[in-house]
Protein backbone atom coordinates (compact mmCIF):
# COMPACT_ATOMS: atom_id res chain seq x y z
CA UNK A 1 0.00 0.00 0.00
CA UNK A 2 1.26 3.46 -0.87
CA UNK A 3 1.16 5.92 1.98
CA UNK A 4 0.94 9.64 1.41
CA UNK A 5 4.13 11.72 1.37
CA UNK A 6 2.62 13.78 4.16
CA UNK A 7 2.39 10.83 6.55
CA UNK A 8 5.89 9.72 5.62
CA UNK A 9 7.24 13.18 6.33
CA UNK A 10 5.48 13.34 9.71
CA UNK A 11 6.92 9.97 10.62
CA UNK A 12 10.40 10.94 9.53
CA UNK A 13 10.42 14.20 11.46
CA UNK A 14 8.90 12.66 14.58
CA UNK A 15 11.49 9.93 14.81
CA UNK A 16 14.31 12.26 13.80
CA UNK A 17 13.32 14.54 16.67
CA UNK A 18 13.45 11.58 19.05
CA UNK A 19 16.57 9.81 17.91
CA UNK A 20 18.94 12.16 16.04
CA UNK A 21 20.41 13.43 19.35
CA UNK A 22 20.95 9.87 20.54
CA UNK A 23 22.57 8.78 17.29
CA UNK A 24 24.78 11.85 17.35
CA UNK A 25 25.90 10.92 20.84
CA UNK A 26 26.74 7.39 19.79
CA UNK A 27 28.66 8.62 16.74
CA UNK A 28 30.59 11.17 18.80
CA UNK A 29 31.64 8.54 21.30
CA UNK A 30 33.70 6.85 18.57
CA UNK A 31 35.31 10.12 17.52
CA UNK A 32 38.97 10.31 18.60
CA UNK A 33 39.03 14.11 18.56
CA UNK A 34 38.68 15.85 21.91
CA UNK A 35 36.59 18.50 20.24
CA UNK A 36 33.22 16.88 19.77
CA UNK A 37 32.41 19.18 16.87
CA UNK A 38 35.28 17.90 14.73
CA UNK A 39 34.79 14.38 13.36
CA UNK A 40 38.11 12.74 12.59
CA UNK A 41 37.82 9.00 12.21
CA UNK A 42 36.90 6.01 14.34
CA UNK A 43 38.47 5.12 17.67
CA UNK A 44 37.74 3.31 20.92
CA UNK A 45 39.94 5.78 22.74
CA UNK A 46 37.20 7.10 25.02
CA UNK A 47 36.04 3.62 25.85
CA UNK A 48 39.54 2.79 27.00
CA UNK A 49 39.61 5.96 29.08
CA UNK A 50 36.26 5.03 30.53
CA UNK A 51 37.50 1.57 31.44
CA UNK A 52 40.43 3.14 33.29
CA UNK A 53 38.29 5.65 35.19
CA UNK A 54 37.82 3.96 38.55
CA UNK A 55 35.59 6.67 39.88
CA UNK A 56 33.07 6.28 37.07
CA UNK A 57 33.17 2.48 37.18
CA UNK A 58 32.64 2.53 40.92
CA UNK A 59 29.70 4.91 40.59
CA UNK A 60 28.19 2.75 37.85
CA UNK A 61 28.45 -0.36 39.99
CA UNK A 62 26.90 1.45 42.95
CA UNK A 63 24.05 2.65 40.74
CA UNK A 64 23.41 -0.85 39.43
CA UNK A 65 23.43 -2.27 42.94
CA UNK A 66 21.03 0.36 44.24
CA UNK A 67 18.80 -0.06 41.20
CA UNK A 68 18.63 -3.84 41.56
CA UNK A 69 17.99 -3.73 45.31
CA UNK A 70 15.42 -0.96 45.21
CA UNK A 71 13.64 -2.51 42.21
CA UNK A 72 13.37 -5.79 44.10
CA UNK A 73 12.08 -4.07 47.23
CA UNK A 74 9.63 -1.93 45.28
CA UNK A 75 8.36 -4.95 43.36
CA UNK A 76 7.73 -6.93 46.56
CA UNK A 77 5.93 -4.10 48.35
CA UNK A 78 4.20 -2.76 45.23
CA UNK A 79 2.84 -6.23 44.40
CA UNK A 80 1.29 -6.51 47.85
CA UNK A 81 -0.22 -3.03 47.55
CA UNK A 82 -1.55 -3.71 44.05
CA UNK A 83 -2.95 -7.07 45.16
CA UNK A 84 -4.70 -5.51 48.14
CA UNK A 85 -6.23 -2.77 46.01
CA UNK A 86 -7.38 -5.19 43.33
CA UNK A 87 -8.78 -7.85 45.67
CA UNK A 88 -9.93 -6.07 48.80
CA UNK A 89 -13.30 -5.45 47.28
CA UNK A 90 -15.28 -2.36 47.99
CA UNK A 91 -14.71 -0.52 51.21
CA UNK A 92 -15.21 3.00 52.42
CA UNK A 93 -12.33 5.14 51.25
CA UNK A 94 -11.13 2.77 48.53
CA UNK A 95 -11.04 5.59 46.02
CA UNK A 96 -8.96 7.69 48.38
CA UNK A 97 -6.46 4.87 48.84
CA UNK A 98 -6.09 4.39 45.10
CA UNK A 99 -5.72 8.14 44.58
CA UNK A 100 -3.10 8.39 47.32
CA UNK A 101 -1.13 5.64 45.63
CA UNK A 102 -1.13 7.22 42.20
CA UNK A 103 -0.63 10.75 43.55
CA UNK A 104 2.92 9.73 44.34
CA UNK A 105 3.51 9.32 40.62
CA UNK A 106 3.11 13.04 40.02
CA UNK A 107 4.70 14.47 43.17
CA UNK A 108 7.77 16.56 42.20
CA UNK A 109 11.09 14.79 42.85
CA UNK A 110 12.35 17.79 44.79
CA UNK A 111 9.50 17.48 47.25
CA UNK A 112 9.96 13.72 47.59
CA UNK A 113 13.70 14.05 48.08
CA UNK A 114 13.36 16.77 50.68
CA UNK A 115 10.68 14.92 52.65
CA UNK A 116 12.70 11.71 52.65
CA UNK A 117 15.80 13.57 53.80
CA UNK A 118 13.80 15.00 56.69
CA UNK A 119 12.49 11.56 57.55
CA UNK A 120 15.94 9.95 57.52
CA UNK A 121 17.42 12.70 59.70
CA UNK A 122 14.56 12.44 62.20
CA UNK A 123 14.78 8.65 62.25
CA UNK A 124 18.49 8.72 62.88
CA UNK A 125 17.95 11.01 65.85
CA UNK A 126 15.05 9.00 67.21
CA UNK A 127 16.16 5.37 66.73
CA UNK A 128 19.71 5.61 65.40
CA UNK A 129 18.80 3.98 62.08
CA UNK A 130 19.64 4.48 59.26
CA UNK A 131 23.02 5.66 60.55
CA UNK A 132 24.17 8.49 58.32
CA UNK A 133 23.24 8.82 54.69
CA UNK A 134 24.59 6.84 51.77
CA UNK A 135 23.76 3.83 49.62
CA UNK A 136 21.19 2.53 52.11
CA UNK A 137 19.17 5.74 52.25
CA UNK A 138 19.27 6.10 48.46
CA UNK A 139 17.97 2.53 48.12
CA UNK A 140 15.16 3.15 50.59
CA UNK A 141 14.26 6.40 48.85
CA UNK A 142 14.14 4.66 45.49
CA UNK A 143 11.89 1.92 46.89
CA UNK A 144 9.55 4.65 48.07
CA UNK A 145 9.59 6.35 44.66
CA UNK A 146 9.04 3.25 42.48
CA UNK A 147 6.58 1.40 44.72
CA UNK A 148 3.60 3.26 43.29
CA UNK A 149 4.62 2.50 39.71
CA UNK A 150 4.81 -1.22 40.43
CA UNK A 151 1.54 -1.19 42.39
CA UNK A 152 -0.28 0.49 39.51
CA UNK A 153 1.06 -2.03 36.99
CA UNK A 154 0.14 -5.00 39.21
CA UNK A 155 -3.29 -3.69 40.10
CA UNK A 156 -4.16 -3.15 36.45
CA UNK A 157 -3.04 -6.67 35.59
CA UNK A 158 -5.01 -8.25 38.44
CA UNK A 159 -8.14 -6.24 37.75
CA UNK A 160 -7.84 -7.41 34.16
CA UNK A 161 -7.51 -11.08 35.04
CA UNK A 162 -10.39 -11.19 37.54
CA UNK A 163 -10.44 -13.32 40.66
CA UNK A 164 -11.99 -16.48 39.27
CA UNK A 165 -8.70 -18.37 39.04
CA UNK A 166 -7.95 -17.62 42.69
CA UNK A 167 -11.46 -18.72 43.59
CA UNK A 168 -10.86 -21.95 41.69
CA UNK A 169 -7.59 -22.55 43.55
CA UNK A 170 -9.24 -22.00 46.93
CA UNK A 171 -12.17 -24.14 45.88
CA UNK A 172 -9.68 -26.95 45.25
CA UNK A 173 -8.24 -26.70 48.74
CA UNK A 174 -5.60 -23.98 48.46
CA UNK A 175 -5.44 -21.54 51.37
CA UNK A 176 -5.53 -17.87 50.32
CA UNK A 177 -1.73 -17.74 50.60
CA UNK A 178 -1.28 -20.92 48.58
CA UNK A 179 -3.67 -19.60 45.93
CA UNK A 180 -1.61 -16.41 45.73
CA UNK A 181 1.69 -18.30 45.48
CA UNK A 182 0.57 -21.08 43.13
CA UNK A 183 -1.79 -19.21 40.82
CA UNK A 184 -1.65 -15.42 41.16
CA UNK A 185 2.13 -15.01 41.26
CA UNK A 186 2.95 -17.23 38.27
CA UNK A 187 0.28 -15.41 36.25
CA UNK A 188 1.71 -12.08 37.33
CA UNK A 189 5.14 -13.06 35.94
CA UNK A 190 5.20 -10.66 33.00
CA UNK A 191 3.70 -7.83 35.05
CA UNK A 192 6.24 -8.43 37.81
CA UNK A 193 9.05 -8.34 35.30
CA UNK A 194 7.90 -5.12 33.70
CA UNK A 195 7.29 -3.58 37.13
CA UNK A 196 10.79 -4.54 38.21
CA UNK A 197 12.33 -3.15 35.04
CA UNK A 198 10.40 0.07 35.43
CA UNK A 199 11.61 0.45 39.02
CA UNK A 200 15.14 -0.45 37.91
CA UNK A 201 15.29 2.23 35.22
CA UNK A 202 13.66 4.81 37.49
CA UNK A 203 16.37 4.22 40.06
CA UNK A 204 19.19 4.19 37.51
CA UNK A 205 17.89 7.45 36.09
CA UNK A 206 17.29 9.35 39.31
CA UNK A 207 19.46 12.32 40.15
CA UNK A 208 17.27 14.60 42.23
CA UNK A 209 16.08 12.29 45.01
CA UNK A 210 19.49 10.62 45.27
CA UNK A 211 21.20 14.00 45.63
CA UNK A 212 18.97 14.84 48.59
CA UNK A 213 19.37 11.62 50.54
CA UNK A 214 22.96 10.71 49.63
CA UNK A 215 25.89 11.25 51.92
CA UNK A 216 29.64 11.55 51.47
CA UNK A 217 31.18 8.59 49.70
CA UNK A 218 27.99 7.40 48.02
CA UNK A 219 27.72 8.93 44.57
CA UNK A 220 25.55 7.27 41.98
CA UNK A 221 26.36 7.42 38.29
CA UNK A 222 23.98 10.28 37.49
CA UNK A 223 25.47 12.28 40.36
CA UNK A 224 29.04 11.72 39.11
CA UNK A 225 28.09 12.51 35.52
CA UNK A 226 26.26 15.64 36.55
CA UNK A 227 29.15 16.92 38.61
CA UNK A 228 31.59 16.06 35.82
CA UNK A 229 29.45 18.04 33.40
CA UNK A 230 30.01 21.18 35.40
CA UNK A 231 33.68 20.87 34.52
CA UNK A 232 32.80 20.56 30.86
CA UNK A 233 31.69 17.76 28.56
CA UNK A 234 34.35 15.15 27.97
CA UNK A 235 34.03 12.58 25.17
CA UNK A 236 34.44 9.95 27.87
CA UNK A 237 30.89 10.77 29.02
CA UNK A 238 29.65 10.12 25.49
CA UNK A 239 31.22 6.67 25.62
CA UNK A 240 29.63 6.06 29.00
CA UNK A 241 26.21 7.11 27.71
CA UNK A 242 26.59 4.76 24.75
CA UNK A 243 27.39 1.85 27.05
CA UNK A 244 24.33 2.61 29.21
CA UNK A 245 22.20 2.90 26.09
CA UNK A 246 23.36 -0.52 24.91
CA UNK A 247 22.73 -2.14 28.29
CA UNK A 248 19.26 -0.62 28.70
CA UNK A 249 18.24 -1.50 25.13
CA UNK A 250 19.37 -5.08 25.60
CA UNK A 251 17.46 -5.36 28.89
CA UNK A 252 14.27 -3.85 27.46
CA UNK A 253 14.50 -5.97 24.32
CA UNK A 254 14.95 -9.10 26.41
CA UNK A 255 12.05 -8.21 28.66
CA UNK A 256 9.86 -7.55 25.65
CA UNK A 257 10.72 -10.92 24.14
CA UNK A 258 9.99 -12.68 27.44
CA UNK A 259 6.67 -10.93 27.73
CA UNK A 260 5.70 -11.81 24.18
CA UNK A 261 6.47 -15.45 24.88
CA UNK A 262 4.78 -15.59 28.29
CA UNK A 263 1.85 -13.34 27.43
CA UNK A 264 0.38 -15.71 24.91
CA UNK A 265 0.24 -18.70 27.23
CA UNK A 266 -0.55 -16.84 30.42
CA UNK A 267 -3.22 -14.21 29.86
CA UNK A 268 -6.43 -15.98 30.93
CA UNK A 269 -8.64 -13.47 29.16
CA UNK A 270 -7.29 -14.74 25.88
CA UNK A 271 -7.96 -18.36 26.74
CA UNK A 272 -11.59 -18.02 25.65
CA UNK A 273 -12.99 -19.16 22.30
Amino acid sequence: MKRSWFLNTCLLFGYAFLYVPVLLLVATSFNPNRLTTVLSGFSLRWYAALWADDKLIEAALLSLRIAALSATGATALGTLAGYALARFGRFRGRGAFAALLSARLVLPDVLVGLSLLLLFVQMEQAVGWPAGRGALTITLAHVSVSLSYVAVVIEARLADAGSELEDAAMDLGASPWAAFALVTLPLLGPALLSGWLLAFTLSLDDLVVATFVSGPGASTLPMVVFSALRLGVTPELNALATVILAVVSAALGGAWLLQQKAGRAVVPGRAGA
Partner: protein, 368 residues
Protein backbone atom coordinates in the same frame (compact mmCIF):
# COMPACT_ATOMS: atom_id res chain seq x y z
CA UNK B 1 -31.49 -39.33 52.76
CA UNK B 2 -30.86 -35.64 52.78
CA UNK B 3 -27.21 -34.91 52.12
CA UNK B 4 -27.32 -31.14 52.04
CA UNK B 5 -29.57 -29.14 54.35
CA UNK B 6 -29.97 -25.42 53.83
CA UNK B 7 -31.96 -23.67 56.53
CA UNK B 8 -33.02 -20.03 56.66
CA UNK B 9 -30.17 -18.96 54.40
CA UNK B 10 -30.09 -15.18 53.93
CA UNK B 11 -27.55 -13.26 51.88
CA UNK B 12 -27.54 -9.48 51.57
CA UNK B 13 -25.54 -7.21 49.31
CA UNK B 14 -25.81 -3.98 51.25
CA UNK B 15 -29.50 -3.22 51.47
CA UNK B 16 -30.42 -5.65 48.66
CA UNK B 17 -31.51 -9.13 49.73
CA UNK B 18 -30.11 -11.74 47.35
CA UNK B 19 -31.35 -14.79 49.23
CA UNK B 20 -34.29 -14.54 51.59
CA UNK B 21 -34.57 -17.17 54.37
CA UNK B 22 -34.13 -20.03 51.94
CA UNK B 23 -34.80 -23.61 53.02
CA UNK B 24 -33.81 -26.53 50.82
CA UNK B 25 -32.69 -30.08 51.24
CA UNK B 26 -30.88 -32.01 48.55
CA UNK B 27 -30.52 -35.78 48.54
CA UNK B 28 -27.36 -37.79 48.25
CA UNK B 29 -26.45 -38.61 44.66
CA UNK B 30 -28.99 -36.21 43.23
CA UNK B 31 -28.69 -34.09 40.11
CA UNK B 32 -30.35 -31.00 41.52
CA UNK B 33 -30.83 -28.04 39.20
CA UNK B 34 -31.14 -24.49 40.47
CA UNK B 35 -33.11 -22.69 37.81
CA UNK B 36 -33.81 -18.99 37.64
CA UNK B 37 -33.48 -15.82 35.63
CA UNK B 38 -30.75 -13.28 36.16
CA UNK B 39 -30.97 -11.70 39.60
CA UNK B 40 -32.96 -14.62 40.98
CA UNK B 41 -30.18 -15.51 43.45
CA UNK B 42 -29.12 -18.80 41.88
CA UNK B 43 -25.48 -17.82 41.48
CA UNK B 44 -25.48 -16.29 44.96
CA UNK B 45 -26.72 -19.57 46.38
CA UNK B 46 -24.02 -21.48 44.50
CA UNK B 47 -21.31 -19.12 45.77
CA UNK B 48 -22.65 -19.42 49.31
CA UNK B 49 -22.46 -23.22 49.02
CA UNK B 50 -18.89 -22.93 47.72
CA UNK B 51 -17.96 -20.66 50.62
CA UNK B 52 -17.24 -17.55 48.56
CA UNK B 53 -20.04 -15.57 50.18
CA UNK B 54 -20.76 -15.46 53.88
CA UNK B 55 -24.50 -15.56 54.57
CA UNK B 56 -26.02 -12.97 56.91
CA UNK B 57 -28.11 -15.69 58.53
CA UNK B 58 -28.95 -19.36 58.21
CA UNK B 59 -27.06 -22.64 58.13
CA UNK B 60 -25.60 -24.97 55.54
CA UNK B 61 -25.20 -28.55 56.75
CA UNK B 62 -23.43 -31.05 54.49
CA UNK B 63 -23.45 -34.72 55.49
CA UNK B 64 -24.20 -33.83 59.08
CA UNK B 65 -21.42 -31.23 59.30
CA UNK B 66 -22.22 -27.52 59.65
CA UNK B 67 -20.06 -25.89 56.97
CA UNK B 68 -21.61 -22.41 57.11
CA UNK B 69 -18.52 -20.74 58.55
CA UNK B 70 -15.88 -22.78 56.71
CA UNK B 71 -13.76 -21.01 54.06
CA UNK B 72 -13.81 -22.47 50.52
CA UNK B 73 -10.58 -24.46 50.92
CA UNK B 74 -11.89 -26.34 53.96
CA UNK B 75 -15.17 -27.47 52.40
CA UNK B 76 -15.66 -30.89 50.81
CA UNK B 77 -17.29 -28.99 47.96
CA UNK B 78 -15.85 -28.32 44.50
CA UNK B 79 -17.03 -26.10 41.70
CA UNK B 80 -16.84 -25.95 37.92
CA UNK B 81 -16.86 -22.28 37.07
CA UNK B 82 -18.79 -20.75 34.22
CA UNK B 83 -15.59 -19.67 32.45
CA UNK B 84 -13.98 -22.99 33.54
CA UNK B 85 -11.17 -21.05 35.32
CA UNK B 86 -8.52 -23.55 34.23
CA UNK B 87 -5.04 -22.54 35.33
CA UNK B 88 -3.45 -21.35 32.09
CA UNK B 89 0.11 -21.94 33.28
CA UNK B 90 -0.46 -25.65 33.97
CA UNK B 91 -1.16 -28.48 31.58
CA UNK B 92 -4.31 -30.59 31.78
CA UNK B 93 -2.73 -33.18 34.06
CA UNK B 94 -1.50 -30.57 36.56
CA UNK B 95 -4.84 -28.79 36.50
CA UNK B 96 -6.68 -31.98 37.38
CA UNK B 97 -4.10 -32.92 40.02
CA UNK B 98 -4.16 -29.48 41.70
CA UNK B 99 -6.70 -30.40 44.38
CA UNK B 100 -4.98 -33.71 45.09
CA UNK B 101 -1.62 -32.01 45.61
CA UNK B 102 -3.31 -29.63 48.05
CA UNK B 103 -4.65 -32.63 49.95
CA UNK B 104 -1.15 -34.09 50.18
CA UNK B 105 -2.03 -37.24 48.26
CA UNK B 106 1.14 -39.25 47.43
CA UNK B 107 2.62 -38.56 44.01
CA UNK B 108 2.05 -42.03 42.60
CA UNK B 109 -1.58 -42.03 43.65
CA UNK B 110 -2.11 -38.58 42.13
CA UNK B 111 -0.81 -39.86 38.80
CA UNK B 112 -3.10 -42.87 39.00
CA UNK B 113 -6.22 -40.94 39.96
CA UNK B 114 -5.60 -38.16 37.43
CA UNK B 115 -5.28 -40.62 34.59
CA UNK B 116 -8.43 -42.44 35.74
CA UNK B 117 -10.32 -39.13 35.76
CA UNK B 118 -9.01 -38.15 32.34
CA UNK B 119 -10.25 -41.49 31.07
CA UNK B 120 -13.61 -40.83 32.71
CA UNK B 121 -14.01 -37.59 30.75
CA UNK B 122 -12.33 -39.08 27.67
CA UNK B 123 -9.35 -36.76 27.60
CA UNK B 124 -6.63 -39.35 28.18
CA UNK B 125 -4.51 -38.26 25.23
CA UNK B 126 -4.67 -34.56 26.15
CA UNK B 127 -2.88 -34.86 29.52
CA UNK B 128 0.10 -32.79 28.38
CA UNK B 129 -1.81 -30.00 26.66
CA UNK B 130 -2.19 -26.47 27.94
CA UNK B 131 -5.78 -25.25 28.38
CA UNK B 132 -5.43 -22.74 25.53
CA UNK B 133 -4.80 -25.63 23.14
CA UNK B 134 -8.20 -27.19 23.94
CA UNK B 135 -11.68 -26.60 22.50
CA UNK B 136 -14.51 -25.28 24.67
CA UNK B 137 -16.02 -28.72 25.20
CA UNK B 138 -12.65 -30.19 26.15
CA UNK B 139 -12.04 -27.38 28.64
CA UNK B 140 -15.42 -28.06 30.19
CA UNK B 141 -14.44 -31.70 30.66
CA UNK B 142 -11.08 -30.75 32.19
CA UNK B 143 -12.92 -28.46 34.62
CA UNK B 144 -15.24 -31.34 35.51
CA UNK B 145 -12.37 -33.77 36.07
CA UNK B 146 -10.48 -31.20 38.13
CA UNK B 147 -13.49 -30.55 40.36
CA UNK B 148 -14.13 -34.27 40.82
CA UNK B 149 -10.52 -35.13 41.63
CA UNK B 150 -10.61 -34.33 45.37
CA UNK B 151 -13.72 -36.56 45.62
CA UNK B 152 -16.03 -33.81 46.82
CA UNK B 153 -19.15 -34.58 48.80
CA UNK B 154 -20.93 -32.01 46.65
CA UNK B 155 -20.13 -30.78 43.15
CA UNK B 156 -21.37 -27.35 42.07
CA UNK B 157 -21.69 -26.56 38.36
CA UNK B 158 -22.15 -22.93 37.33
CA UNK B 159 -23.89 -22.75 33.93
CA UNK B 160 -21.78 -25.64 32.61
CA UNK B 161 -23.31 -25.66 29.13
CA UNK B 162 -23.94 -21.99 28.46
CA UNK B 163 -20.61 -21.32 26.75
CA UNK B 164 -20.95 -24.26 24.35
CA UNK B 165 -22.62 -24.21 20.98
CA UNK B 166 -25.76 -26.14 20.40
CA UNK B 167 -24.52 -29.44 19.01
CA UNK B 168 -21.82 -29.68 21.67
CA UNK B 169 -24.29 -28.83 24.41
CA UNK B 170 -26.39 -31.96 23.93
CA UNK B 171 -23.29 -34.16 23.88
CA UNK B 172 -21.81 -32.51 26.98
CA UNK B 173 -25.12 -32.83 28.79
CA UNK B 174 -25.06 -36.59 28.19
CA UNK B 175 -21.47 -36.70 29.44
CA UNK B 176 -22.43 -34.84 32.61
CA UNK B 177 -25.24 -37.28 33.32
CA UNK B 178 -23.00 -40.27 32.67
CA UNK B 179 -20.22 -38.94 34.91
CA UNK B 180 -22.75 -38.15 37.62
CA UNK B 181 -24.12 -41.70 37.48
CA UNK B 182 -20.67 -43.28 37.46
CA UNK B 183 -19.30 -41.25 40.38
CA UNK B 184 -22.50 -41.08 42.41
CA UNK B 185 -21.56 -37.56 43.52
CA UNK B 186 -24.30 -35.10 44.46
CA UNK B 187 -24.44 -32.46 41.70
CA UNK B 188 -25.97 -29.03 42.06
CA UNK B 189 -26.19 -27.36 38.67
CA UNK B 190 -27.13 -23.75 38.05
CA UNK B 191 -28.78 -22.71 34.82
CA UNK B 192 -31.15 -20.12 33.37
CA UNK B 193 -32.32 -22.45 30.62
CA UNK B 194 -35.53 -24.34 31.48
CA UNK B 195 -35.05 -26.88 28.67
CA UNK B 196 -31.64 -27.78 30.05
CA UNK B 197 -33.09 -28.08 33.55
CA UNK B 198 -35.90 -30.36 32.38
CA UNK B 199 -33.45 -32.54 30.47
CA UNK B 200 -30.91 -33.22 33.23
CA UNK B 201 -32.52 -32.68 36.62
CA UNK B 202 -33.67 -35.30 39.06
CA UNK B 203 -35.25 -32.34 40.83
CA UNK B 204 -35.47 -28.65 40.04
CA UNK B 205 -35.53 -25.72 42.43
CA UNK B 206 -36.92 -22.67 40.69
CA UNK B 207 -35.59 -19.47 42.24
CA UNK B 208 -37.33 -16.13 42.02
CA UNK B 209 -36.22 -12.97 43.82
CA UNK B 210 -34.14 -14.85 46.36
CA UNK B 211 -36.80 -17.40 47.24
CA UNK B 212 -37.69 -20.84 45.96
CA UNK B 213 -40.82 -20.51 43.86
CA UNK B 214 -41.17 -24.29 43.58
CA UNK B 215 -39.16 -27.43 44.16
CA UNK B 216 -40.01 -30.67 42.40
CA UNK B 217 -39.25 -33.16 39.67
CA UNK B 218 -39.18 -31.80 36.12
CA UNK B 219 -42.63 -33.31 35.46
CA UNK B 220 -44.11 -31.78 38.61
CA UNK B 221 -42.72 -28.35 37.82
CA UNK B 222 -43.74 -28.44 34.20
CA UNK B 223 -47.17 -30.02 34.59
CA UNK B 224 -48.23 -28.68 37.98
CA UNK B 225 -46.67 -25.27 38.37
CA UNK B 226 -47.54 -23.83 41.74
CA UNK B 227 -47.85 -20.25 40.58
CA UNK B 228 -48.26 -18.00 37.61
CA UNK B 229 -44.54 -17.17 37.75
CA UNK B 230 -43.51 -20.82 37.56
CA UNK B 231 -45.89 -21.51 34.69
CA UNK B 232 -44.63 -18.52 32.74
CA UNK B 233 -40.97 -19.34 33.44
CA UNK B 234 -41.44 -22.92 32.28
CA UNK B 235 -42.63 -21.70 28.93
CA UNK B 236 -46.43 -21.58 29.22
CA UNK B 237 -47.44 -19.00 26.66
CA UNK B 238 -51.17 -18.90 27.39
CA UNK B 239 -51.98 -17.70 30.88
CA UNK B 240 -55.51 -16.44 31.22
CA UNK B 241 -57.54 -15.00 34.08
CA UNK B 242 -60.76 -16.78 35.02
CA UNK B 243 -63.49 -17.14 37.62
CA UNK B 244 -64.31 -20.36 39.44
CA UNK B 245 -67.91 -21.47 38.79
CA UNK B 246 -67.76 -24.86 40.44
CA UNK B 247 -64.84 -25.78 42.68
CA UNK B 248 -65.26 -29.56 43.12
CA UNK B 249 -65.03 -32.41 42.32
CA UNK B 250 -63.83 -31.17 38.92
CA UNK B 251 -63.51 -27.43 38.59
CA UNK B 252 -65.56 -25.55 36.05
CA UNK B 253 -64.26 -22.13 35.16
CA UNK B 254 -65.30 -19.08 33.27
CA UNK B 255 -62.22 -18.04 31.31
CA UNK B 256 -62.21 -14.36 30.47
CA UNK B 257 -62.20 -13.88 26.74
CA UNK B 258 -62.88 -17.54 26.04
CA UNK B 259 -65.90 -18.85 27.87
CA UNK B 260 -66.60 -21.84 30.07
CA UNK B 261 -63.89 -24.44 30.58
CA UNK B 262 -63.82 -27.81 32.25
CA UNK B 263 -60.71 -28.75 34.26
CA UNK B 264 -59.61 -32.09 35.69
CA UNK B 265 -59.48 -32.03 39.49
CA UNK B 266 -60.73 -29.53 42.05
CA UNK B 267 -60.01 -25.79 41.96
CA UNK B 268 -57.52 -24.39 44.49
CA UNK B 269 -60.02 -21.63 45.33
CA UNK B 270 -63.70 -21.38 46.25
CA UNK B 271 -66.47 -20.78 43.74
CA UNK B 272 -66.70 -17.13 42.74
CA UNK B 273 -63.01 -16.37 43.27
CA UNK B 274 -60.66 -15.49 40.45
CA UNK B 275 -57.52 -17.33 39.44
CA UNK B 276 -55.28 -17.89 36.42
CA UNK B 277 -55.21 -20.85 34.11
CA UNK B 278 -52.31 -21.98 31.94
CA UNK B 279 -53.13 -23.66 28.64
CA UNK B 280 -50.01 -25.24 27.19
CA UNK B 281 -49.68 -24.44 23.47
CA UNK B 282 -48.82 -28.05 22.62
CA UNK B 283 -51.94 -29.41 24.34
CA UNK B 284 -54.32 -27.32 22.24
CA UNK B 285 -55.95 -28.72 19.11
CA UNK B 286 -56.88 -26.79 16.02
CA UNK B 287 -59.74 -27.71 13.65
CA UNK B 288 -61.46 -25.90 10.80
CA UNK B 289 -64.46 -24.01 12.16
CA UNK B 290 -67.90 -25.53 11.52
CA UNK B 291 -71.11 -23.68 10.94
CA UNK B 292 -72.20 -24.42 14.51
CA UNK B 293 -69.08 -22.74 15.93
CA UNK B 294 -69.68 -19.68 13.88
CA UNK B 295 -73.29 -19.29 14.76
CA UNK B 296 -72.94 -19.47 18.53
CA UNK B 297 -72.29 -16.15 20.27
CA UNK B 298 -69.19 -15.97 22.45
CA UNK B 299 -69.50 -17.06 26.05
CA UNK B 300 -72.14 -19.71 25.55
CA UNK B 301 -71.60 -23.44 25.87
CA UNK B 302 -70.70 -25.18 22.66
CA UNK B 303 -69.21 -28.52 23.62
CA UNK B 304 -66.54 -29.02 26.23
CA UNK B 305 -63.50 -26.75 25.99
CA UNK B 306 -63.92 -25.54 22.48
CA UNK B 307 -63.68 -21.95 21.30
CA UNK B 308 -63.92 -20.45 17.79
CA UNK B 309 -61.41 -17.95 16.54
CA UNK B 310 -59.40 -16.57 13.67
CA UNK B 311 -55.78 -17.30 12.81
CA UNK B 312 -53.73 -14.09 12.89
CA UNK B 313 -50.31 -15.59 12.27
CA UNK B 314 -48.68 -18.94 11.49
CA UNK B 315 -44.98 -19.61 11.97
CA UNK B 316 -43.01 -22.65 10.85
CA UNK B 317 -40.75 -23.71 13.76
CA UNK B 318 -39.15 -26.88 12.44
CA UNK B 319 -40.76 -29.56 14.61
CA UNK B 320 -43.99 -27.66 15.05
CA UNK B 321 -46.10 -24.93 13.51
CA UNK B 322 -47.08 -22.17 15.91
CA UNK B 323 -50.39 -20.48 15.22
CA UNK B 324 -51.59 -17.32 16.83
CA UNK B 325 -55.36 -17.44 17.20
CA UNK B 326 -57.63 -14.58 18.19
CA UNK B 327 -60.72 -16.07 19.81
CA UNK B 328 -64.11 -14.51 19.23
CA UNK B 329 -64.24 -13.82 22.95
CA UNK B 330 -61.18 -11.57 22.60
CA UNK B 331 -58.40 -13.75 24.08
CA UNK B 332 -55.31 -14.56 22.00
CA UNK B 333 -53.94 -18.11 22.23
CA UNK B 334 -50.71 -19.63 20.97
CA UNK B 335 -51.39 -23.07 19.50
CA UNK B 336 -48.45 -25.31 18.74
CA UNK B 337 -49.20 -28.15 16.30
CA UNK B 338 -46.76 -31.04 15.81
CA UNK B 339 -45.60 -31.80 12.30
CA UNK B 340 -45.81 -35.55 12.86
CA UNK B 341 -48.10 -36.05 9.86
CA UNK B 342 -45.78 -34.22 7.53
CA UNK B 343 -46.73 -30.73 6.57
CA UNK B 344 -50.40 -31.69 6.17
CA UNK B 345 -51.39 -29.64 9.22
CA UNK B 346 -49.72 -26.88 7.30
CA UNK B 347 -49.49 -23.18 7.60
CA UNK B 348 -52.82 -21.41 7.81
CA UNK B 349 -53.46 -18.15 6.05
CA UNK B 350 -54.21 -15.26 8.37
CA UNK B 351 -57.97 -14.88 8.66
CA UNK B 352 -58.70 -18.60 8.53
CA UNK B 353 -61.62 -19.50 10.78
CA UNK B 354 -60.72 -22.23 13.26
CA UNK B 355 -61.93 -23.86 16.47
CA UNK B 356 -59.47 -24.38 19.33
CA UNK B 357 -60.15 -27.27 21.69
CA UNK B 358 -58.32 -28.89 24.60
CA UNK B 359 -58.78 -31.79 27.02
CA UNK B 360 -59.71 -31.00 30.64
CA UNK B 361 -56.21 -32.09 31.82
CA UNK B 362 -54.69 -29.32 29.73
CA UNK B 363 -56.13 -26.68 32.06
CA UNK B 364 -53.48 -26.00 34.70
CA UNK B 365 -55.04 -24.04 37.56
CA UNK B 366 -52.66 -21.58 39.17
CA UNK B 367 -53.35 -20.39 42.70
CA UNK B 368 -52.98 -16.65 43.11
Amino acid sequence: MADLEIAGLTVRYGPAVALDRLDLSINSGEMFVLLGGSGSGKTTLLRALGGFIQPAAGRIVLAGQDITALPPHRRPVNTTFQSYALFPHMNVEDNVGFGLRRQGVPRAEIARRVSALLDLVRLGEFAGRRPDALSGGQRQRVALARALAPRPRLLLLDEPLSALDRSLREQTRQELLRVQRETGTTFVLVTHDQDEALAVASRIGLLHEGRLAQVGTPAEIYERPSSRFVAAFMGAANILPGTVRTAAPDAVLDLHGIGPAQAAGPAPAAAGSTLHVALRPERLRLAPATAQHLSTPPGTAQGVNTAPGTVTDSAYRGGTIDHQVRLHGGAILLVSQPLADGVSAGLLAPGSAVAVSWPPEACVLLPE
